[in-house]
């Protein structure tokens, strides 16, 4: 299913790039975040090519993902703990995040298992499932970044630009949320996750840019649409022109 979707998208993207006169919006998924103009064409082509070559492994098939992560973790600095531990018993995603926040033990859970269960419970959801991940900026105690001239975390910079209220919101497509390389981490290198790394619980999306790996999670929701979030593209950086899947 995924492969045929990707092939179709690749064809759509490829033919769209070829047709110079065609500068319309390209829906990446029916009812999903769309993007008009000529950048919509290249965005679609990039997205489709990624999906084509980076095929989605079956949910729970963590062997390849684990191997990849092992390759990525050359030294302690890159390790993000164990991968794909057995599922927890908590019924809902929101409750899962809150439970982890309270527990704060060193371990890693596989979001894929959570979302897969959610998708099974809502079969008609499966194609539109997204995880909305909300981080609470009040606990953001990261030190200021000196070389960019940002003195406080609240200062104007792309990563902190106009949060929705006091919230930072990230969106993932079900493809990315269900991927075995997408993890919720509440531990690192055999210890509790440090505050600097997003304690008590953070998201780690290995396959997207760093700003998609939200820290300080407070809740996770599966939503049917991203309307109203980040210019309708469900990204806190879409104001800058980033596409919903980070564009890379």
């Amino acid at each position: 299913m995924t492969t045929s979707f990707s092939r179709r998208r690749l064809l759509v993207g490829g033919s769209a790039i070829g047709a110079a006169g065609l500068v319309g919006g390209c829906d990446l998924l029916e009812g999903g975040p769309s993007r008009g103009g000529v950048y919509g064409l290249s965005d679609t082509l990039t997205f489709a090519t990624q999906r084509f070559f980076v095929a989605q492994p079956a949910v729970g098939a963590t062997v390849r993902a684990g191997r990849d992560l092992g390759r990525l973790s050359h030294d302690q600095h890159h390790q993000s703990g164990q991968f794909g531990l057995p599922t927890l018993k908590s019924p809902g995603l929101r409750r899962l995040a809150l439970a982890r926040q309270r527990a704060g033990r060193a371990a890693v859970v596989c979001v894929a298992c959570r979302l897969a269960r959610h998708a099974r419970a809502h079969p008609d959801y499966a194609s539109l499932l997204r995880a909305g991940l909300v981080g609470d900026r009040r606990v953001d105690r990261r030190p200021a970044v000196p070389s960019s001239g940002v003195s406080r975390p609240e200062a104007r910079s792309p990563l902190h630009r106009r949060p929705i209220g006091r919230w930072l919101v990230g969106q993932l497509r079900s493809f990315d949320a269900l991927h075995p390389q997408t993890i919720l981490a509440y531990g690192m290198n055999g210890r509790d996750l440090p505050v600097a790394h997003g304690a008590p619980v953070r998201l780690r999306v290995e396959r997207q840019l760093g700003y998609k790996s939200l820290k300080y999670l407070t809740s996770i929701e599966a939503v049917a649409a991203v309307d109203g979030l980040g210019a309708g593209r469900g990204s806190m950086l879409s104001e800058l022109g980033f596409s919903w899947y980070a564009g890379i």
């Binding site: 290249s42 965005d43 390759r71 960019s148 792309p158 999306v205 022109g241 564009g247 890379i248």
Partner: protein, 230 residues
């Protein structure tokens, strides 16, 4: 027969060469502009796997940090990268299977003699050009051929591969890219340095056109009528 024709008359450029040349040139210009815009978000380069605003850079560029330009920069970079990749693929396939790579770009045996290469290099260093040796030789000179081949065979693939290594989605699926370049930040540094070499190539390329009958050469690449100095 073809040998004699190549030597005595400039054969001109077929349409697919002219189209991919100008499309590629425009896309390369857009890539340079948007690449600088992206670079401004973090105008320092690192060797290895990690790097950030706070960590010491391997190369610290004397550029202002500006994180507001990365959005449009990235969009334009990807759009023009796609255009250049598609144009480049068309060019590569056509020139390999159409014989242009062998006929026009690969140095011939007499051009590969060390003495010939040295004399060419000496002539160029004295800004004398290579036409002095034989005015009827309308082939690309050996240095020109080697420069074109370096761009097509080495630099262009290097740019694509280091660019892909900067994509978390691609490296999560193909971590071999990290092994190839020694990390994402090394790949970014190689991407930048290769871009500098490509830019230097373009500067020399344009300079050589301007220094050698620019009207005829530009007309040749625009219209395909390549008969120089009639």
């Amino acid at each position: 027969m073809t040998e004699a024709r190549i030597h005595t008359q400039h054969p001109g450029h077929p349409a697919w060469v002219r189209i991919t040349h100008w499309v590629g040139a425009a896309a390369f210009f857009a890539l340079v502009v948007s690449g600088i815009a992206i670079l401004l978000a973090l105008p320092r380069l690192f060797w290895g796997e990690t790097g950030s605003n706070a960590s010491p850079g391997w190369i610290v560029l004397p550029l202002p940090t500006n994180t507001e330009q990365t959005g449009w920069g990235r969009n334009l970079h990807f759009l023009s990268a796609w255009i250049l990749v598609i144009a480049g693929a068309v060019y590569l396939v056509a020139s390999v299977f159409g014989g242009r790579l062998r006929g026009r770009l690969l140095p011939e045996r007499d051009q590969l003699r060390p003495g010939h290469i040295l004399s060419e290099a000496r002539a160029h260093l004295r800004f004398g050009g290579s036409r002095l040796e034989n005015a009827n030789d309308r082939r690309y000179n050996v240095l020109q051929k080697l420069a074109y081949l370096a761009v097509i065979v080495i630099l262009a693939p290097l740019m694509v591969l280091t660019g892909l290594t900067m994509s978390p989605g691609v490296t999560a699926a193909y971590p071999e890219l990290f092994w190839m370049f020694g990390g994402r930040q090394s790949a970014r540094t190689i991407h930048f340095l290769s871009a500098c070499v490509l830019l230097a190539f373009v500067v020399v390329h344009v300079w050589q056109v301007l220094a050698n009958d620019p009207k005829a050469l530009i007309r040749g690449m625009l219209t395909g009528r390549g008969d120089r100095r009639p």
